[in-house]
């Protein structure tokens, strides 16, 4: 089973986000990028499938700051092959462009299964998985939280609201958007990642020009405005707790 996992780096939402002077994009000067958490789950799911049924796992990531760490961490978790797509990704590209860049590499690798995160926090033009499936004319299913592979066939657990699960049979090769791996992404020690930096190789593939057609033009970006900003309770823990007890009484639960 030849499994490819596509990952991208996204803004770390724990950090303060600011808009750049153009007013139409995030200010990248202070932006800290981290792996899209759903892609992290896709990596875990791919490695679980390999451990369970054998196979070969390739992780592909576009070249932005932090990409090597993401790839070597994937190797430390069990990925067999690491590929960095080079191109002008630093200023940010939309998902249509990214999916086309991924498609060129995926086509070359001839996978049985492509996994990627179901969404990312900076998506404005759809998500990478189904866009890639469109480019490669492969079937796509998303919101997946479990996969079974048997005799070249796949059965995926697709999540719906309220905890309902649909069992979906998908002909391979296929692209799946991972909501959550069957177990939390595994922890790897920094020493093991460092070891991978010495022993693993990162291959490079140049993106053949980035075509962003299909995404919308953004005229203005702004911080979310509060519809009804919360009444903020101030003071030390004791004082805030006292105010909260008063509110609980007022609301009739005490």
């Amino acid at each position: 089973m030849n499994i490819i996992i596509l990952a991208k780096l996204v803004p770390d939402l724990v950090e303060e986000l600011t808009i750049d002077p153009s007013g139409v994009a995030l200010d990248t000067a202070w932006l800290r990028l981290i792996i899209n958490e759903f892609d992290d789950h896709a990596i875990e799911q791919g490695i679980l499938l390999k451990e369970r049924g054998g196979g070969h796992v390739t992780v592909v990531v576009p070249d932005v700051e932090g990409v090597d760490d993401v790839l070597f961490t994937a190797a430390a978790k069990g990925a067999d092959r690491l590929i960095k797509i080079t191109g002008d990704f630093a200023g940010g590209v939309n998902n249509h462009a990214l999916a086309r860049a991924f498609a060129a590499v995926v086509k070359e690798l001839q996978p049985d299964l492509v996994l990627t995160g179901v969404q990312a926090n900076n998506d404005v033009d759809g998500s990478v998985g189904p866009l890639l499936a469109g480019c490669l004319e492969m079937p796509y299913v998303g919101y997946i939280s479990g996969i079974t592979l048997n005799d070249g066939k796949s059965k995926a657990r697709k999540e719906y609201p309220g905890g309902l699960i649909a069992e979906i049979e998908v002909a391979l090769p296929a692209v799946m958007g991972i909501q959550a791996a069957e177990q939390p992404p595994r922890y790897v020690a920094v020493s093991k990642v460092r070891q991978m930096m010495k022993t693993s190789a990162i291959e490079e593939r140049a993106a053949p020009g980035l075509d962003s057609s299909g995404g919308p033009a953004i005229d203005r970006m702004f911080q979310a405005e509060a519809g009804q900003r919360a009444t903020m309770l101030t003071g030390n823990a004791d004082e805030v707790a006292t105010k909260l007890v008063g509110i609980f009484k007022e609301l009739g639960v005490l």
């Binding site: 033009d125 759809g126 469109g134 999540e159 609201p161 998908v170 919308p216 005229d219 405005e225 805030v240």
Partner: protein, 321 residues
């Protein structure tokens, strides 16, 4: 080409999903700028009964046994034909397990632009999308001539997309749906949990800020003192710290307690959409920019571990008194 706004109605096991009504409300706003009609597109098998209260000018019904329940391959094939032929001004999908499976693929397949996570439309044809966990909004003019859109909850109320009058239903052509590569094997209902969090009057809900499983007990003590139970956001459930039956959010339960006490929950859109019917949301978070403060009634910018035990003690004392 026409100026109509098409809404792809979402339904699951015979129930219209709430997002469908929100999309119809958004479509009505958008139709003001296009001058077209609002058209509900209903794919299904013997599903015309679902059209009853849709606030649409008309319903296009695509009937086929392969469309009885949602699968991405059949829906995509059926819609590619319809959208390609009619070329409406916009086609709105839910930013959901159904809509996102097909909107992006159709964008590539039909060569049509796609705007995702759209929250509102303005009467002059602009969209506002939310990104970065609801912290940032992106505004632009809806691309021409035909735009595909996925829509998130938050901008409209379901009542705005409902009507007492049944719209007229017209049959639309369905292509041969053969050699499908995605098929539904069946549904698995959620396991009955120890408690139904949708019915609890008080929820003490924990997010990533709870840090590890050992700390869950702190929330449980507070919940017990308040006569409620503990629930959690997605990261907590994915870590296995709480059972899936305690998940609040897009793929978990929608809840409406008297008090929703959010401890260390940022309030990402997937979580926020499931708690807005609560009587009072109270949020404790160290990040002053956390979107949860935009929907909470009360908030405190503080470390939950400074507060939680003090609060439990005070609640117990208040009950004792």
């Amino acid at each position: 080409m026409n100026q109509d706004i098409y809404v792809i109605v979402e339904h699951l096991r015979g129930q219209v999903a709430e997002i469908s009504y929100l999309m119809l409300a958004g479509a009505r706003e958008l139709a003001k700028s296009s001058g077209g009609s609002v058209v509900a597109v209903l794919l299904g098998h013997n599903a015309q009964g679902l059209a009853g209260n849709l606030a649409a000018d008309k319903v296009l019904s695509l009937e086929h046994p392969a469309l009885a329940e949602f699968t991405s391959d059949a829906y995509q094939k059926a819609l590619a034909g319809l959208i390609g032929k009619d070329q409406p001004r916009a086609v709105i999908f839910g930013s959901t397990s159904i809509g996102t499976d097909i909107a992006s693929t159709l964008s590539v397949r039909l060569g049509l632009p796609l705007v995702s996570s759209c929250r509102t439309f303005s009467p002059d044809g602009k969209f506002v999308s939310q990104i970065c966990g609801g912290k940032i909004m992106a505004e632009g003019v809806l691309p021409s001539p035909t735009a595909l859109v996925t829509m998130v909850p938050g901008g409209y109320k379901p009542e705005q997309g409902q009507s007492a009058q049944s719209p007229a239903v017209t049959q639309a052509d369905v292509p041969a749906l053969e050699s499908l590569r995605v098929t539904l094997a069946g549904y698995i209902d959620p396991e009955a949990g120890d408690v139904d969090i949708a019915k609890e009057p008080v929820l003490v809900s924990v997010g990533r800020g709870i840090q590890n499983q050992d700390n869950i007990v702190l929330a449980e003590e507070l919940a017990a003192a308040l006569g409620g139970v503990v629930s959690g956001s997605r990261p907590v459930i994915d870590q296995g710290w709480l059972a899936t039956s305690r998940l609040v959010g897009k793929s978990g339960k929608h809840v409406k307690p008297k008090i929703y006490l959010a401890l260390g929950i940022s309030g990402a859109p997937e979580h926020a959409e499931a708690i807005t019917d609560s009587d009072a949301i109270i949020a404790i978070n160290t990040d002053p920019a956390a979107p949860i403060f935009n929907i909470a009634k009360y908030g405190a910018e503080m470390d939950i571990f400074e507060l939680i035990e003090v609060l439990t003690a005070q609640v117990k004392a208040a009950k004792g008194g």
